[in-house]
Every structure is written in structure tokens, then in C-alpha cells.
């Protein structure tokens, strides 16, 4: 989905609108400006930085390509940003292999911010990092969001990280959104059986609280079968679930769920 939003892939059906305009009918010039406004932070800070470029030239490259400012202005912007994401001046001319995973992710974040985007797609930005570094990067992302007024689409498999980072949460299962709601609603009153199973499967981080409320069973079924994607693992299955795929329905202002038994379980 992230790749569709930054238009690295084209959808087979459906539309993506950015400020009211369909991104798939953009002209080359519109696309260029769109991609300046929408930037991505990648999961793997090892493979997403060019090993033959120094930190400063990696972060500067978007400016160079777009011919923004003169050389001194560009360097000034890069240096400011590096300080902002917690990299020192001395590190500017080092190459990616000289940095740790957390520092590389800081370089990736600075590169994403250098064009002053409005929307950042962060695709598992901390899942390749060690626990003690994860918290540093999550805090940095929050700080930057606040300081630059950013909007994040934050992709993660880690429900604890999601809970800490998001305002609204969409739960996906086999290519579909099964539930969409405000952060506190997802965690306090999950509606979809899959959301409930996920929440029950997440380790609580407290050795005194090991008991699960729900049983966790089954594996994802093959795609393309009839009915609801989750029916083979669902404890609340009824006849219609094997026949029809449930649509994503709105339950209140902020709350959507795709389940035939939505609201009644």
C-alpha cells in the first residue's frame, strides 16, 4: 500500500487522492511536486542508503536533483537537519558502513525531511533496530512531527509501537482493512475478531499477566476463496461468513469495521 501511495506501483482499480487530485492522473511535473510533498522512510537502514555516498551527500541529493538553493544554502540546510535528527557535524563525511543501525535510520529520516514534505510514509521504521535504539527513533519521529507539523502513515507489525505512535489505526488482514478506528477505541473495545486475536497475542510485557483472554488459532488462508478472509480462524463465524465477504461499514464518526457480526459480538 505504501508503494501505491508514493506511486511506485499503479493500482488495478480504485483511486488515490492527494488534496483532492487523483495521483494516478498526474502529469510529470505534478508527480515531481507530489513526490516532494510525500516522502518515505524505509524499514531497512542498511539497504536503503547508497554505500558509496557520504551521509551529507545522501541527505543533500534531493536538493541537488531539484536544484534548490546554491551549494552553500544546501549545505546549510543539510547541516541544520543533521543536527535536528541527532547527527554531529563530524559525522557528515562518513559513509553508511561507519554508522550503526540507529544512526543510519537517522540519515534516512533526514533525507526524507530535506524537501520539507507534508506526508511521511514510515514503513516499519524501527523493526530492524535494537530495543534501546527503537525508543530513540520513535521519540525522534514524534518530535519531528510536532516541530514540522508532519502527517505520518506509520506502518508496523508491532502493536505496542502502533499504540504509542498513532492517532487512528487501520488493521489489515490479507490485503483488506478489517477495522479502522481511533487509537483508544482499537485497544479498549476492538470490534473485529481479528483485532481481538491480535491484541490477545501481543505479549503484555508484564510477567504477572501471562494469561490470554482469547485463544489464538489457525493460519492465514489462501487468497481468492469465497466469503470472509478470516472465517477459518474466527470463533464467531456464522453461515453468511462462508458466503459473502463483509464490506467495511461505518459504525460511528470514526469507527469502521468489516464483519458480518460487527457490533454484536
Amino acid at each position: 500500500m505504501a508503494r501505491l501511495i508514493i506511486r511506485l506501483e499503479r493500482p488495478d482499480a480504485g483511486n488515490i487522492y492527494y488534496k483532492g487530485d487523483d495521483i494516478n492522473s498526474f502529469s510529470a511535473a505534478q508527480l515531481k511536486s507530489y513526490r516532494g510533498n510525500v516522502q518515505m522512510i524505509f524499514q531497512d537502514p542498511y539497504s536503503s542508503l547508497n554505500p558509496r555516498k557520504s551521509a551529507v551527500s545522501i541527505i543533500r541529493e534531493p536538493l541537488t536533483i531539484r536544484k534548490i538553493g546554491d551549494k552553500n544554502e544546501r549545505d546549510e540546510m543539510v547541516m541544520q537537519l543533521m543536527a535536528k535528527v541527532g547527527l554531529s557535524k563530524e559525522q557528515a563525511n562518513r559513509y553508511p558502513h561507519e554508522f550503526s543501525g540507529g544512526q543510519r535510520q537517522r540519515i534516512g529520516i533526514a533525507r526524507a525531511l530535506v524537501l520539507k514534505p507534508e506526508l511521511i510514509i514510515a514503513d516499519e521504521p524501527v523493526s530492524a533496530l535494537d530495543v534501546s535504539i527503537q525508543a530513540q527513533i520513535l521519540n525522534l519521529l514524534k518530535e519531528l512531527k510536532h516541530d514540522f507539523g508532519l502527517t505520518y502513515l506509520f506502518i508496523s507489525h508491532d502493536l505496542n509501537v502502533i499504540r504509542n505512535m498513532s492517532d487512528r489505526i487501520a488493521v489489515m488482514y490479507l490485503g483488506k482493512i478489517v477495522e479502522l478506528a481511533a487509537n483508544r477505541d482499537i485497544y479498549s473495545t476492538p470490534m473485529h475478531p481479528y483485532t481481538r486475536m491480535l491484541l490477545s497475542a501481543v505479549p503484555s510485557g508484564d510477567p504477572k499477566n501471562k494469561n490470554r483472554t482469547l485463544s489464538i488459532k489457525g493460519e492465514a488462508r489462501n487468497e481468492g476463496e469465497k466469503g470472509c478472509n478470516f472465517q477459518n480462524r474466527c470463533s464467531y463465524k456464522i453461515d453468511i461468513c462462508a458466503q459473502e465477504e463483509p464490506p467495511l461499514k461505518r459504525y460511528d464518526q470514526q469507527r469502521f469495521c468489516a464483519c458480518h457480526r460487527g457490533g454484536s459480538i
Binding site: S132, A135, N164, N183, D206, P207, I216
Partner: protein, 328 residues
Amino acid sequence: MPRLLEIKDLRTVFDTAKGRISAVDGVTLGLNSGDTLGIVGESGCGKTMLALSIMRLIPANGKIVNGEILFSGQDLLKISSEEMRKKRGSEIAMVFQEPMTSLNPVLRVGEQIAESIRLHQKLHTKEALALSIDQLREVGIDDPEKLIRDYPHQLSGGMRQRVMIAMAMSCHPQLLLADEPTTALDVTIQAQILDLISTLKEKNNMAVILITHDLGIIAQAAKHVAVMYAGKIVENSTVENIFDHPLHPYTRGLIESMPARCAASSDKGNYLKTIPGNVPSLYNLPAGCRFFDRCTSAQKECNKEEPVLKEIEEGHFVSCWKYPGNIN
């Protein structure tokens, strides 16, 4: 009665182009039958090398230069490689992180499980296959007769890890080493695999060493926990002590930086606690305590001499200068 596993002052070194490093540096720990010991630490802290040292399977450029690994009272470092080979798979088994790369892609699942049964229990292929089917049923596979004819690429990640566990369990080992067994899996599959390991452990009174970087898994599955940092154990105690009453500043930092333990939602200013800095490189360790330059309660003396692991409270071992000395 001796403990099932007793490791004393184990040191495993690697000779590399940049010099000699100690991946495991003076590790001492013990484990009883039926217990789960969690080993937690960040990448490069030596937890996998510790497990491979117990198996005597460390890579060719490494060697164990000091210490004892007593398994039921017998030092594994003193027996011949032939004797060690017999123990591996039958008495001590290991489950690896990546179930795809640790299964042979060109052999059917059944043959792979049967192989270790044939070798260790001296059975014929047919009997071994029959036992493999039982073993697969044991790890929660519904249709094992069909599955034994499948190749690894036909299985999902969760199924592969079940097969790996079936293989490890096939000779009823007394000790199971599980190295990040669920890291490559989805969270709902992870929960199932952890439950399975715990059920099998109870049933066979087996000891488990569970290696992970994920504190949530440790809280869920371990009875005792050893926290590793840069090749050393810095704290070792019960899981309750480690989570509710951590003593080492590194352990405290780790527990406090867990998103699960932080209040919910993205309310403005809801920042996580962090440990400053980065894990030191083993080539370039700070003088004195290895955690010195990241430690918030470091004192002047801390970078003079390295602290040793001492029993600060009953059953609670810590290596930190903050704590005066052994209780005994």
C-alpha cells in the same frame, strides 16, 4: 543432584582481521530441568554465540578458550567431537530463527525429521517415518501423513517452525536451545509457537534456553532471565525480579524503553524513555564497565575497573559498581 546445565566462566573468542574479540566473555549461568531461561540482549551482545558454544558449533574462526559447560555434570568441552555429535540432536537440540534456511529445501519434510530419529535411535526408515508422523501431530499439525510428503517451500513460516520444533523434539532432548524462534513470524503465529514450546517443555520436563531481543516474549515465557550486554551477563534473576525490580541500569533502561510499558496513544509529549548512545563495538570497548558511557548513574570509579557478577540479593545477580557486594 547437579543442575542440568552449569556454565562457568565461559569465554569464546574470534580471531578476525581487525584482531581478537570476545563474543562471550566470562559467562556463568545455570539451569534446572523443566525451567525456561530467557537470554535477552541486543544484536551482537553474544547471545547466539553463547548458544552455539553450548552446542559446540561456533564458526571456524572462533574458539572456546576458557570455562566449563557442565551438562548433567559432564563437561561438554572435554568430550570428543564424536561424543558431542551423539549428544547434539538427542540430548541437546536447537531451533533456529529462520525456519526456511535451516530446513533442507530439496528433502521432503518427513525425511528430514526421520533422519535424526534414524541416526540417534538406530531405527529403520519406516519406523522413523512413523515416529515423525507422531511427532508432527505432537506439535499441532492436523494432517501429518500429508505433510511429510511436502517440501519446505510448500509450508508457511509458522508450519516450518513447527516442523523445526518437531525435528528438535524427535529424540526427546533434555535441553532445547531456541534462538529467536518467533522473530520471523507474525504475532498470532508467534503466540502459538511460544505456547507449543511451553506445552512440550511441561510434558517432557525439558529445560529451555530462550534467546530473544524481545522483552515481551521474555515476560511471557521465561522463568529466569539473563541480560547480556557486550558479551557479558550484567544481570540474572527471576523474571519477576527483572521486570519489577531491575537493578542494573541497563536492564532498567531496557524495561523502561518498552513501548508496551509506556502509557498508550500518541498524546502530545508522550515520549518513551530511552537509553542514550549505541551498543559499543566489541573491537573498541570502553575501559572499566562496558555500559559506562551510556549509564545515567555512572560514577567516577566505573571506568577504572570492570564490575563482576555478584549476588546482591537472594538469587539476584548483578554486575554493577552501584551495589556494594555479595550478600554472603
